[in-house]
Every structure is written in structure tokens, then in C-alpha cells.
Amino acid sequence: MSKLTIPVRKFDAVIVGAGGSGLRAAIQLSEAGLKTAVLSKVFPTRSHTVAAQGGVSASLGNSEEDHWHWHMYDTVKGSDWLGDQDAIEYMCRMAPEVVVELEHFGMPFDRTDEGKIYQRPFGGHMSNFGEKPVRRACAAADRTGHAMLHALYQRNVRANTQFFVEWMALDLIRDDSGQVLGVIALEMETGDVVAFHAKATVFATGGAGRIFYSSTNAFINTGDGLGMAARAGIALEDMEFWQFHPTGVAGAGVLITEGVRGEGGILRNSANERFMERYAPNAKDLASRDVVSRAMVTEINEGRGCGPNKDFVLLDITHLDPATIMKRLPGIREISIQFAGIDPIKAPIPVVPTCHYQMGGVPTNYKGQVVSQDATPIPGFYAAGEVACASVHGANRLGTNSLLDLLVFGKSSGDSVIDDLRSGAIGLKELPADYAERTLSRLNRLNTQTGGASVNETRLELQRTMQKHCGVFRFKDMLVEGVAKILDVEKAVLRTEIKDKSQVWNTARVEALELDNLIEVAKATMISAEARKESRGAHVRDDAPDTAANPNGRDDVNWHKHTLWHRESNRLDYKPVIMKPLSVESIALKTRSY
């Protein structure tokens, strides 16, 4: 087996992922004159970053007084104190610089009359340490992510970044010392498997929201970076924390904006009852995302869901004037018709809480270096964006902080590569003899499997298991059962079978390889969630309720720590939250209330 060789290409740096974070890292490296390869499953400007419409945060203070320290406070609070305060300070301090830099790269931000970047309000952005809302979000109409990717891509073209489009990275290459030496990747057009041998490897592969049945994430978000890291023996951090959006179209997952409830939309159960009146008598349907999501799940769990399987609730706007719907909620009617088969002017829209964003990931420090449990960097390995856990989002992400995360940590990971090369901490080491063995045997298994499981059915089973057992509201017994079930699903994943064995454009093979990654993320999530016996941020357990001793169910004495899941024997470890910022005083633990 170890005699099997594959073609090798050599680079200074290889970046896996061409979304906002990968492209930002690539600019740093290419402009420093490094020979840089960027691999992507799709053309760069088709990366999922395009879907981000809301904006990117920075305390520019263009519309009213603002300060990075206030932004930092909001982020720590949003994270329910699970975020690392050194990384959060770094991100919030860097925000104005990276946003202005992006403007210089050609990003067409909306502007004020005086020509400054226009800023709008966004949930959770406050001035003066939580006092009152502040305008901090910068946007380019409703196409912020799209415009950002185009600006970054153009800059990369200018800097001669080498793109490998429709290539899928399969595995990380590590030697015995643990140093990362590149990746093995598959070219879809030829079926060729090639080693990208590099002094530095940067993961920017985005999120893994497709582990859930109901997800706002595009199909591409299969957590490949997480799967590759886990298989290479790198622990995944805080994978129990996923942000859900209350109103995704049942079945399809397509997001129905909060604005629908803002314009008077009402949530109803199977008895046509406006159930939010019971859960939040004042705010009702406009209560915070988590409160609404939990109420919806409780209705469904207690048998008051709608439809033949009683597995969704209804979002009703039939009482609104059709003219208002068309004018104030453009696009909602088309989305409902196409993805729910329902005209919302005539009938209510079926909705469920839907997975939206992954807070956990590959553990890094604020320099974008991937770190082991004792915080020492793993030589040659860097990560940024949704795949990484710096950790700035902690137990819950603040809206618009993820686009910021891409810019800040994309840039800092690139800078770290340059520094580590200069200091001699990394360099081109020889590939170990058996470096391709694990990947080739995985491919070989897939090519020769008979009587195995269907990829589609196994993926569906995985997604249904995660949705049912590890959704937005979690229950002890369901989690315990969920762990057993997901380990069963893993057995099927290990014996998936594809009928098509051809080389060129074999999408069945690619989908089977994506499933190999989804299962690692699913296991990490379920097992970490079952173990964390408190409620914090987006991880909410029925058996960890709001009490005087533990407000909101948060248990700082026992659980104020990061989870680390190891693939090998599904072992869990924990590491402390970094409470010491870089230059200011620590933001002390406090109950999170809005």
C-alpha cells in the first residue's frame, strides 16, 4: 500500500476554501510574494459567503459615537461568556481597519450623504456597554457577502493567486511530529488525486449546517474542513453550539426573515392558537430568537404541531393587506409559493426552527494558528472563518460578526504564515512514506463496496437524527438516545456504496466523500451536547432550566469551559475560557439578559 504514489504539487501555502476567509488569507500571502494555491469545490464567487445580506460590523462611529470596547462587550455578552476575550478584543479592535481596507479593495459599501460608510442598527449592537442600540453594521445594499467576495476575488487575481476550481480536498497530510504538510485533493473533472505539498496549510472551508435536516445553509456546507481535521487527530472545539433561526420553511429550510413577524406575522399551532401569547405575553411573536424557537419546539413536542406528522407550526400573514405584503415584504410571497407550495396571502406558511450558523470548529488562537489543547500552535496549520473556533462567537454569535471574523482572522492567519516562515518555525519538510495511504484506502473502499448503504438515505438518516435529538431545544433522554443513533448512522457511513465507479465528474463519489465529513461533525455535535449539562447561549437543555442559582440554566461553576471532542474513541476534554483580554480589563461573568 505505501508504495502507491500520487502526483505532488509544491506550494508555499495551500488554502482550502475560497469564501470570504480563504480569499482574505490568500491576499495576504500572494501579496507577500508567496506561491499560493486556493482550492475550492466551486468557483470562488459561488461560495456561501454570497448568502450573507445583513452586513459586517465595525465601530467606525460614522453615524454616531461608537467604540471597539463597546463592540467587544456586546460580543462577550452575546457569546454568553464562552468567547475567548483575547480573540474578541483583537477582532473588535481590528474591525475598523479591515473594513476600511475592504473599501480600498473596491467594496461598494452604502454611503452617508458625506460619503462615509453608512451604518445601520442590528440586534445586539449597543453603545456604552449595553446601554442603547448603536448603528454599527456596514452593508452593500442586501448583497454584502456577494460584493465582499467580488472585491476580494479581484484583488487575488491581481496578486496572482493560483485557483484550483472544482477541486475537493480530501485529507490533511501530517507527519509523525504532528506538523501539517498540505492536503490531498481530488480534481472533479479528471478524477485525479493529487498531493498539495506546502509549508503552510490554511483551512477556510466554511460551516457544516447540512448536518441538520432543516438548515438555511446551502448544500455545499458539509463541514469538510472539520472532517479532515478530525481524521488527522485534531480535536474539534465547542461543537454543541449551533445558532438556529426560528422561521425556516418546513422541509426546505429557506429562511423567512424576522421582518415578517415585524410586519405583524403571527405564529399559530394546530388549534389555530396564537401560542406566543402564553410564552411571552408582552413581546409575543417578536420575542427573541431563542424564546420563539423554544416555544415552537414545545408546541410541536406536546402534539400541537401542524401537518400530517404534526412537525411544524404556521406563520400566518393572511390577515395583512396583500398590498402591504407585496410592498413591505418583497420576495416572501415568491419564496412561500416556490418552497412551501403556499400563497401566504391565502394560507399560513409552515415553519420550523432551522439551523443557521456553527459557533464551534477547529481550535485556533487569535492569530489564526490552529492550536492543540495546551494552546501551542500545530506547526504548518492555520484556519479562519466559520470552520474555525477562535473563539469569538462562544456559545452564540452576534449577527454581522461572522463576516467580520472572515476578514480579521483571514488576514491574521495569512500574517501568521508569513511570520512563521520568516522565523523558521515552518518550512517544507519531506512527505512521510505513507502519506496518501489513508485517503487511497478510503477511495478504494468506496470503489469496491458491494451490498452497502445508499449515500442519500444515510445522509437523510443523519440529518433527521440530528434534528430530532439535538435541535434547538434539547432533552436529556433524547440526547442519550441520539448518541447511540448517530453511532449507528456512522456504521452505515463506513459502508456506503456508489453505483457509478467512473473517474470523470463522478458526483456520486464526491457526495459520498462529503458524507464522510458530515458524520464527523454530527458525532462531535451530539456527543459534546449530551455531555454539557447546562444551558448556555444556543445550547438549551430542558433539564437545565432558569433558577436563582443558575440564571438561564447556565452553570458557571461546572461548565464555564470549552469542549474538545476527539474523534479517537469519542473522548471529550475541556479547556479554560480565556478571560484575559489583550489590553483592557476582563469582562466579568454576568447573567445574560437583553
Binding site: 456561501h48 418583497p330 418552497f339
Partner: protein, 84 residues
């Protein structure tokens, strides 16, 4: 590249897009409607699938119209797709 390979490439480009909405619509279209198209319409669909999501979405949701008549036929079919 043979027909099977071309179709698989098209499938990848229809179902690994930037927006979930487009994955769902184009995937469904490819399975159900694409096999029934005439050659000109099939070409027009391939061109539409090559567009970026934020160019294609306004055509599909009716906020923009296309100028090319064959493309307009295909877009009309896309608008009729119901993802269930």
C-alpha cells in the same frame, strides 16, 4: 466529455451554489424539467446555471425580466418549479 459527464457537471453546478434557494430550485428543475427541454432550451438552461445566484434570483422571483425569448421560456418554467 460524454453526455453522462456533462450532465454530472451540470448537476454539481446546479446543486452546489451560493444560495440554498438556488440549490433547491435548480436541482429540482434538473431532475424533472430538464429532460423535457428542446436543445435550444437546454442550452439556455446551461447558460442560466452559469450565472451567479444574485443575477439569477431576480429573474426567477420576477423582479427582473430576461430579454432573450428562449431564456424567458426557461425562466418561466423555473418560476413554476415547486420544491416540496
Amino acid at each position: 466529455m460524454g453526455d453522462r459527464e456533462k450532465l454530472n457537471r451540470l448537476r454539481w453546478r446546479c446543486t452546489r451554489r451560493a444560495m440554498l434557494e438556488m440549490d433547491l430550485l435548480l436541482g429540482e428543475f434538473l431532475d424533472r424539467i430538464f429532460p423535457t427541454l428542446n436543445p435550444e432550451q437546454a442550452d439556455a438552461f446551461v447558460n442560466l446555471a452559469d450565472m451567479e445566484d444574485l443575477e439569477l434570483w431576480p429573474l426567477v422571483n420576477g423582479s427582473r425580466e430576461c430579454s432573450d425569448p428562449v431564456q424567458a421560456e426557461v425562466v418561466a418554467l423555473l418560476r413554476d418549479v415547486r420544491v416540496k
